[in-house]
């Protein structure tokens, strides 16, 4: 008889794997990615490819250089690259997109210990870094269905000034508006988000509390139509479904997720209504990322039967 395997129980394991979860996220992002190519043209596909390949390569080489275990197969770098791409304007210079992707994977994720150990969302932090470093190109938005890179104001910027120039709600739902590549098509994002909830990859609590908070605050601030535009504008749907639900950087328990969503909603609304930036989703999520360890600590329940002392 061959040598028998010795191991701690349990000796059967569930079917879920890390790469399976990441694959689900990629599948859920396909509608938004496809929409970005349809709306903004082939260049969107190019940006996506650059971001994903840079993310994967930089993760591989970072793990090689630091002599850590090669974990590129878990597909998490692919998710980071794809998410970052969808957060960029289609006109972004390719070298900037690549640099952002490298920053996300190496600085924000790898240097903090790799998958699961980073405290801030890599794609979001990279986007903020790029907003500061490349303000011009990062805010140069493109009118949908045009080949020329003509700058166009996003609905959020318009909401802050002359509301008569707003695109119709139908266009907001379909994503025919200026904005980052992957954030505009609400229908595609909702399909992806519902898929992730249905697959049990994310909990409905975070997106519902986040989007709900923004909607209610906007309703109070500017009425029904304003609130609808607020929900469909900017990166709210992309952020609420795909970034505020990141495992490593957001709370683990339902109550924590509720607090996280509420906090994100309040910060987003505050920045949008009162800040000098038209958009606040990235900052809101990053700020809430920072207090996530505390939320996790506050929401830790008493074990069943555990004495309180």
């Amino acid at each position: 008889m061959e040598k028998l395997n010795l191991s701690s129980s349990p000796h059967i394991r569930g079917k879920k794997t890390v790469s399976g979860i990441m694959l689900d996220v990629i599948v859920a992002l396909i509608p938004a990615a496809a929409a970005s190519v349809i709306i903004f043209g082939y260049r969107a596909a190019l940006v996506i490819c650059i971001c994903i390949s840079t993310a994967i390569l930089s993760e591989f080489f970072f793990q090689k250089i630091t002599k850590s275990k090669i974990l590129v197969n878990d597909l998490s770098a692919c998710v980071t690259g794809l998410l970052l791409a969808l957060n960029l304007p289609v006109s972004i210079p390719l070298w900037q997109a690549a640099l952002g992707s490298l920053f996300a994977v190496v600085v924000v994720k790898g240097m903090f210990g790799g998958i699961g150990k980073n405290f801030a969302n890599p794609a979001i932090t990279a986007r903020i870094m790029m907003l500061i470093a490349f303000t011009g190109t990062m805010t140069a938005y493109v009118t949908p269905f045009t080949d020329t890179l003509t700058s166009s104001a996003t609905p959020l910027a318009i909401l802050g000034s002359d509301t008569s120039a707003l695109p119709p709600l139908k266009d907001m739902l379909l994503g025919i508006r200026a904005g980052s590549m992957g954030e505009t098509c609400a229908v595609a994002l909702i399909i992806g988000g519902v898929y992730l909830i249905f697959r049990g990859v994310i909990s409905y609590v975070t997106p519902v509390s986040y989007i709900g908070t923004v909607f209610i605050l906007s309703l109070i601030y500017g009425g029904g139509e304003f609130a609808l535009y607020q929900v469909l504008s900017g990166g709210l749907l992309l952020g609420a479904f795909f970034m505020a639900t990141d495992y490593a950087t957001t709370p683990t328990r339902p109550l924590g997720k509720l607090i996280f969503g509420l906090g994100c909603g309040i910060i987003t609304a505050a920045i949008r209504f009162y800040g000098s930036n038209p958009e606040g989703v990235s900052y809101a999520i990053l700020l809430m990322n920072i207090i996530t360890p505390y939320i996790d600590k506050w929401t830790r329940p008493t074990p069943i039967g555990g004495s309180k002392k």
Partner: protein, 441 residues
């Protein structure tokens, strides 16, 4: 009481052997009977090498306190005393008996004289009975309740939530008379308000059988529980059946409950009716490397090798042999380990099922935290353990972990969470012991 959920998980059932009546195997050539097959002090041997023994004869007396006697399970000659490592990695002495193949019953076997609670508890002790669901806690200690009026409910554990295992289910089918007698005896000495027979809903035949067995008894209720692992864990079962929570550091009796495994009750009944102590065990033999999965009744002390042989041997080279179920059982380094009192299954897995998954970093998905039946924090244990921080472990209540395996089962990163929980529990135990010595506690 706050709203509580006992989340748990769905595990594959794989109860292939539920319909197979157990077969009593012929006496093996030799048996190896450990003197500590229970939690507590080892039994003290009363036989010498070359002594002739018969089935049911005491070969070791109960040690002090938490202990039970041990009986010969075959007739034959005491060959030697052997030091061995048990499944739970304790070094114990075992008595090796060479069988004469006759299975002659000992003359000492006599129906015990049970007249009151005290003599009943003593009989359970003399029968050498321990918790047969796997925990192997001396049953007489559990039943040794000075004030029987404290007992409100007796919960019979027939949940059998581990995959593969059907030996408790078989008790309903094959030992119905003993089960009824055992329950009636318990009612007689403890007069509980009710007796709850808890069975998971994936065992419809067992539920039907139990209902038929106790049709005439208005104190006995068959309660159907969802088949959610770990439904048969003592605290989980008590909560599911009575909605009572056993607090940390307390026993079920502190909330008025006795929880006892169905096969244990049948074993008590057998001793009361016939005087036969616990010398054999129904064991489910299954797994992808076993040629003919079946239930076998084997003398306690039968080595794995002999048990598997009676199930047709191996289909292919086994990669892993497990004593107990796949969720909580222990892996064996070889086939020498004997069946003990608490053994209810031997599972042999092929290369695919028996592979040990490679561990990857925690992605903080929270699956373990959301599924832990006791709402514990396995990643928190791991971090505190790696930081060598027993104070944090105490705060996180690692001591409550029952090692059910749910956290590791659901982990997508295939982390060895139970292993780390065990190490963390040990660290806390050592820290407490040291603290106690320094007089700080």
């Amino acid at each position: 009481m706050a709203f509580l959920r006992m989340p748990g998980i769905k595990v594959p059932h794989r109860k292939h052997t539920a319909a197979m009546a157990p077969i009593r195997i012929p006496a093996p050539e030799e048996v190896c009977i450990p003197l500590s097959m229970h939690i507590g002090a080892p039994a003290v041997p009363t036989v010498k090498i070359n002594d002739k023994v018969k089935v049911g004869q005491v070969i070791a007396q109960a040690g002090n306190g938490l202990s039970v006697p041990v009986h010969a399970s075959v007739s034959g000659t005491v060959k030697r005393f052997e030091e061995m490592n048990t499944a739970s990695n304790k070094t114990v002495t075992a008595v090796v008996i060479q069988s004469d193949g006759l299975m002659e019953l000992s003359e000492d076997i006599a129906v015990p004289d049970v007249t009151d609670l005290e003599s009943f508890v003593d009989a359970v002790k003399q029968a050498g009975i321990v918790g047969l669901g796997g925990a192997a806690f001396p049953t007489w200690v559990k039943l040794n309740i000075k004030d029987a009026s404290k007992v409100e409910e007796i919960v019979l554990n027939g949940a059998e939530c581990e995959p593969y295992i059907t030996s408790d289910t078989r008790t309903f089918f094959d030992r119905g008379d003993e089960l009824v007698y055992g329950v009636e005896t318990l009612i007689k000495y403890y007069s509980p308000k009710k007796v709850i027979i808890a069975i998971e809903n994936n065992k419809q035949e067992a539920i039907k059988t139990a209902r038929k067995l106790f049709a005439g008894n208005d104190k006995v209720f068959v309660q159907v529980l969802p088949s959610v692992y770990p439904q048969g864990g003592e605290k989980v079962l008590i909560y599911s059946a009575t909605k009572k929570i056993v607090p940390e550091g307390k026993l079920p009796i502190d909330v008025g409950v006795i929880a006892i495994n169905v096969t244990t009750v049948a074993a008590i009944a057998r001793y009361l009716k016939t005087g036969q102590p616990l010398t054999e065990k129904c064991v489910t033999v299954d797994g992808s490397a076993v040629k003919e999965p079946k239930n076998l009744i084997v003398p306690i002390g039968t080595r794995i090798r002999d048990v598997i042989e009676n199930a047709g041997g191996y289909k292919c080279d086994p990669a892993k042999i497990i004593m107990g179920g796949p969720m909580m059982g222990h892996t064996m380094p070889d086939e020498n380990h004997p069946v003990m009192k608490g053994t209810n299954a031997i599972i042999a897995l092929d290369g695919r099922d028996g592979a040990v998954p490679e561990e990857t970093p925690c992605i903080n998905c929270g699956s373990c935290i959301q599924r832990c039946p006791l709402r514990l924090d396995p990643p928190g244990f791991g971090k505190a353990y790696e930081m060598k921080n027993p104070e944090e472990l105490e705060k996180l209540k690692v001591n409550l972990c029952m090692e059910c395996g749910v956290c590791a089962y659901v982990c997508p990163a295939k982390r060895h969470l139970v292993q780390r929980n065990r190490l963390a529990k040990n660290m806390l135990r050592e820290y407490k012991a040291k603290e106690g010595k320094n007089g700080k506690a």
